[in-house]
Amino acid sequence: MLKTPATSEVASEKKSVSKKKFVFRLNANDKYFSMFFLGPSLLLLGLFVFYPLFKTLYISMFLTDTFGNTTVFTGLQNYVNLISSADFMNSLFVTLIYVLAVTVLTITMGLLLANLASKKLPGIGIFRTLYSMTMGVSVAVAAIFWLFMFNPSTGFFALVSNALKLTPINWLTDPKNAMLAVIITTVWMNLGFTFLILLGSIESVPRSLYEAAEVEGASSSRQFFKITLPMISPTLFFVSTITIIDAFKSFGLIDLITKGGPTNATNMLVYRIYKDAFYSGNYAKSSTEAIILTVIIAFFTLIQFKFLEKKVNY
């Protein structure tokens, strides 16, 4: 029943498209006409995206002096040096751990909270507001707040462990805990946005599907996995892509909380690029790192579109 009008619509659209093509082909100014529309955006992209990209690629093949001028051509030597350095490999490794942990934790917790908050219970509005509140907190404020929490002598965690006579945890000075601290802070920051988007998407799943499932006697967990998850998969795809890219680009929290330390345990790629360029003035090295990061993000985005998107139910 439903299929017939849809297919006929597609057919008529096809017809009109081919008709348009025919008309366009007759027009001799076709090329210039399209450039008229594409031009402005191409110009802007060229100026602000492609030019910097190629310039970065160019710089990455040289050594740069104190002022960032390219002086000695070295070809791919910068890449070889970086890939063979344990320090850079460590950065790559911690970045991957961080991205993975942040994405998985943000989405599972966001989903859990959104699912809870979508239940019609008295006072649920309060919880919805609470869960989405971190969206309104700026990175700087969040970082300062968590720095207070982690302070080894006057922080909240230190006071609790003192009161319970436990050995205090060195949150920001022990390499193992520092990563955990940064992950906790990032997930806390991201949760509000993820929660809100997922809640909206869960709310928009048609009630009739759940009613039908209940008639058939499906359990609530079965309803979640068989109805909610597939129905919100486009949103999940969107949120996961955004979270992964955001996590790769994470900068503010790291700069304010750990500065990449201790012993480079939280020295993620983007922070490294910043430090090498604007602290150490080594523009060649940071350009090389930037190109490597671009390749990595492009690779992840490609994978997401190739494999994940097929599983998405639009």
Partner: protein, 450 residues
């Protein structure tokens, strides 16, 4: 209707804020237009209480004459400012006079972006002999004054004198050795019932470099760059090892607390000290202002500790100098020099020391009432100046003239963190040496130095 009523209040508020903002900005533009003085843009990196003190200096200069007007602009940390200065040179946003910190001296001299202050000193027949020679030497090359020292500090050791008295612990000598400090720290930790940690040493490359200076050891070859551009760094030397062993020993006995690295570590450390959580720490003398203003306890200060069985060689100065950009017209450069000259006046330097803890550089400042009153009120604030005066300047304690010092410091800090977290001292230093030397060689090659 319901919604319109609800919206009225926020709307009025927003409009009100906008109106005020527009009004004040119009006023600001107007007052700027009425001021016909030449503007001297001044970039600095003083935050917190030091920024207020610096603004006092600027205000004083602006009121003192009618030709120039200095406009101070905060540029973030010392580290961040260097690249901003180098990258904006020759553009309209670049400053006329700027503050650049000690370890960037080699970079600034090599850049050729500045007019040596010496040029104006000669034109003006200014008597520089009044300005502390140790500080002047740090920013000069081949007898030419390149930048002019402005805020100059010394690393010193602070202790909580009230707590020491309370527990009957003998206070450390004026020039303590590592084991003197260990003794006090351990006693404090034990006698306070583990409530107060004995000591901390911030993960800060500057402190490591000072420990080397104080034990008469150079970090880079060619006498730390004083007799030629350095080509090799040797961090894994017996003196670094002894310094780190001293810290390791205190970590093991439990009286040490690690606040980590960076600005937040510095703030946490100060907060811990003021709230009796830690009894001893090492920091720039520039912290004295903050430590006396907010302290209910008596503050004790000693020299930077030295290794056992040898005399202290003295530490290098820290802080920053003022430099004049050469990309501005002559008139503006002259104005920048006038400001530098003003900032070195005896009473300006005296007030600056009182407000911040940086040392007054003009010898005549010591005669001023401001400093005499200060020493009467808190005799311990004399200690940093005495430390500077007792040290005989030599190549070990006059700073490290090497490019890439910021990166070197980062790598030193990684080594310190490794050791603080239980890593092998020799191995950590070897790794740092390898990275520092690689970077040094690349940098020398890229810049075409031999």
């Amino acid at each position: 209707m319901k919604y319109t009523k609800k919206l009225i209040l926020p709307l009025v508020l927003v409009l009100g804020i906008l109106a005020v903002a527009i009004f004040t900005s119009i006023n600001a533009v107007r007052s700027q237009a009425s001021d016909k003085r030449t503007e001297i843009v001044f970039w600095h990196e003083m935050g917190g209480p030091s920024e207020d003190a610096l603004e006092k200096v600027v205000d004083g200069f602006n009121k003192s004459q009618t030709k120039y007007k200095v406009v101070p602009k905060y540029q973030g940390s010392y580290d961040e400012a260097i690249q901003k200065i180098l990258q904006t040179h020759g553009t309209s946003t670049s400053p006329a006079v700027f503050q650049a910190f000690d370890i960037s001296a080699a970079q600034m001299i090599h850049s050729g972006f500045t007019t040596p202050v010496q040029k104006f000193i000669d034109q003006d027949h200014y008597d520089v002999s009044k300005i502390a020679p140790g500080a002047r030497a740090f920013y000069s090359s081949n007898g030419v004054q390149q930048g002019m020292p402005f805020n100059t500090s010394q690393p010193v050791l602070y202790y909580n004198a009230t707590l020491l008295e309370k527990y009957g612990i003998e206070k450390p000598p004026v020039s303590p050795s590592y084991s003197d400090i260990t003794r006090v720290a351990q006693q404090l930790y034990e006698k306070s019932g583990h409530k107060t940690k004995g000591m901390t040493v911030q993960v800060y490359g500057w402190l490591l470099e000072q420990a080397l200076a104080n034990s008469k050891t150079s970090l880079a070859n060619n006498n730390d760059g004083h007799t030629g551009n350095p080509t090799k760094v040797d961090l894994n030397n017996p003196q670094t090892v002894e310094f780190l062993k001293w810290i390791r020993e205190n970590i093991k006995s439990g009286d040490f607390i690690d606040y980590g690295s960076g600005a937040s570590a510095g703030a946490n450390q100060t907060a811990g000290f003021l709230s009796d959580k830690v009894g001893i720490f090492i920091q720039s003398s520039a912290s004295i202002g903050q430590l006396t203003a907010n302290n209910t306890n008596k503050l004790g200060i000693t020299y930077f500790p030295h290794p056992d069985g040898q005399k202290a060689n003295g530490v290098a100065i820290g802080g920053a100098a003022l430099w004049i950009s050469n990309d501005k017209p002559k008139d503006i450069q002259k104005g920048a020099y006038e400001f530098i000259k003003y900032s070195l006046k005896p009473e300006v330097q005296a007030q600056w020391q009182k407000d911040t803890g940086y040392l007054a550089l003009n010898k005549d400042s010591q005669k001023s009432k401001i400093l005499k009153d200060l020493y009467k009120k808190s005799p311990e604030s004399k200690v940093p100046g005495q430390q500077l005066a007792t040290a005989k300047p030599n190549n070990f304690n006059s700073g490290i003239l090497m490019e890439g010092m910021q990166l070197t410091r980062q790598l030193e800090e990684v080594a310190m963190e490794t050791v603080y977290n239980g890593g092998d001292i020799g191995k950590a230093l070897d790794i740092a040496d390898k990275s520092i030397n690689e970077n040094l060689q690349t940098s020398n090659r890229a810049n075409g130095y031999k």
